[in-house]
């Protein structure tokens, strides 16, 4: 089945990201689970102009908070996504012109920043300092980025969605 509508593809991918986030990983690998929602949102922020606004990021974050349920402060994902999208929008033009490896490095830095923010929020919430393996997740996100970037490009082509 071909997905004609680009918006349908977007919503579908958001849903997939939420589900993927929710799927438990084995204890030993759990720390490596990337932030799927952040990655998908980052892709659309960079590649599809006007698709993601700060308001949409906020709303998506709230959805993620609801889906995540307990164990996270309500509003944490909203906060993280808003900042992520802001940073991406701010450097969007530069990021888009980077070669893929450079873009990947930049995405890594942005996700690291996101992790710093998360830690900051959790410290404020008295949740304490996270374990060292907490910092694996942004690295995994960075490693996943090129694959995700290329496959989503391909998907969008299949969906006959023209980028800029």
């Amino acid at each position: 089945m071909r997905i004609r509508n680009e918006r349908t593809l977007f919503l579908l991918l958001i849903l997939v990201a939420l589900v993927l986030q929710r799927i438990p990983w084995p204890e030993s690998a759990a720390a490596f689970k990337p932030w799927f929602l952040g990655l998908v949102v980052a892709y659309f922020t960079l590649e599809v102009p006007g698709r993601i606004s700060l308001g949409l990021a906020f709303v998506l974050g709230l959805c993620a908070d609801l889906v995540t349920g307990v164990g996270v402060l309500f509003g944490e994902h909203a906060f993280r996504l808003t900042i992520l999208v802001y940073v991406l929008l701010r450097f969007r033009y530069r990021l888009r012109f980077f070669p893929l490896w450079q873009q990947t490095a930049a995405i890594g830095a942005i996700f690291l920043n996101d992790s710093v923010l998360t830690v900051w929020v959790r410290m404020l919430g008295n949740y304490g300092w996270p374990p060292a393996r907490f910092w694996f997740a942004p690295m995994t996100g960075m490693l996943v980025w090129p694959i995700l970037f290329l496959s989503l490009d391909h998907l969008r082509q299949l969906a006959r969605v023209r980028s800029i």
Binding site: L15, L18, V19, L20, Q21, R22, I23, P24, P49, G50, S53, L54, G55, A57, F58, G61, L62, L66, V67, G69, V70, L73, F74, G75, E76, A78, F79, T82, I83, Y86, L89, R90, F91, R92, Y93, R94, V121, G125, N126, I164
Partner: protein, 309 residues
């Protein structure tokens, strides 16, 4: 960002920064509300039904993986467990065999000691005075009575296994009903698998039967039966007999099995009387007390018992 201004290398600063501040402040406010006062628990609880499908979707692969993993690991684990249990069972059954041999030996030793009651044993050796074996009544009279401490429901065994229980007590004699009496039932269990059954008499001293056994009951020829200890009369673990035939005829509601009793029901000369288990009344209401006990004529006690009936 909806502006089609592509020449800019940087996004427009002012309004998006303002928006960021607003949204970030909103998010932080939400988090504070959640953390400090837990206001949002209700929201969360209310939205669970919305999030449920996503959770269900997310759990699907885990469930599948779980199921297959359970299937795979359980086979290994179960095999291991089974081995361990088989080992335990083997060890315990050999211990049991040894114990049973010892028990039988002790009974035999007591029997060798003669007619005298054993001060150290709870059991009481009794000579069999008379044996009454017919189709409807399988009873024996023993030369011990109330004077010796024999009570109704005292259990009779010989060196091989269970004989029966005392139903009437005279001063120095007592009458006991045998396992083979058609009115007698013993709560029993199969030694091999613990299956609980009732052993009933057939009116013949050489055979017993299992009562109302399900067609699919796990019972095989050669299975040993012992008292289960249920019912409050017989102590657990007394040998009853072993299965010699199992029939599951078409159209029958129950499986038929016959046993050969372990004890020499009609042939014992000496029996051991065990005190009944405490705090129980008579379990078998035998309105028809042994009608035809043929007594040994030159035993006054037995005659007295017979006369008293």
């Amino acid at each position: 960002m909806n502006s089609p201004d592509r020449a800019q290398l940087f996004a427009k600063g002012a309004d998006s920064t303002l928006a960021l501040l607003v949204y970030a402040a909103a998010a932080i406010a939400l988090m504070v509300l959640d953390r400090k006062w837990g206001y949002l628990n209700d929201v969360r609880a209310g939205s669970q039904s919305l999030a449920q499908p996503i959770w269900a979707l997310a759990e699907l692969p885990a469930k599948i993986a779980d199921a297959s993993q359970t299937y795979l690991t359980d086979r290994a684990e179960l095999a291991e467990k089974l081995n361990a249990q088989a080992e335990t069972a083997l060890r315990q059954s050999t211990e049991l065999l040894a114990l049973r041999a010892q028990a039988a030996e002790s009974v035999r030793v007591r029997a060798l000691l003669g007619d005298e009651p054993l001060a150290t044993s709870k059991g009481l050796i009794a000579r069999v005075l008379s044996v009454d074996l017919d189709r409807y009544s399988q009873r024996i009279a023993i030369a011990r009575g109330a004077r010796d401490g024999v009570l109704v429901n005292s259990v009779l065994i010989d060196e091989k296994g269970l004989l029966g229980q005392v139903t009437e007590v005279g001063a120095s004699t007592a009458i006991a009903i045998l396992l083979s009496d058609v009115n007698h039932r013993v709560p029993a269990e199969i030694v091999r698998n613990g299956l609980r059954v009732y052993v009933v008499g057939l009116g013949r001293d050489a055979a017993l039967a299992l009562d109302r056994m399900a067609l699919n009951a796990d019972i095989k020829i050669g299975d040993q039966l012992q008292t289960s200890g249920l019912g409050g009369v017989f102590p657990a673990g007394l040998p009853i007999g072993h299965v010699v035939s199992v029939a599951r005829a078409d159209g029958d509601s129950f499986a038929q099995a016959t046993l050969i009793p372990a004890a020499r029901l009609g042939l014992s000369k000496l029996v051991l009387v065990l005190p009944p288990r405490p705090n129980i009344g008579p379990v078998f209401d035998l309105r028809r007390a042994a009608p035809t006990i043929s007594t040994v004529p030159n035993t006054p006690a037995a005659s007295a018992t017979a006369a008293s009936r």
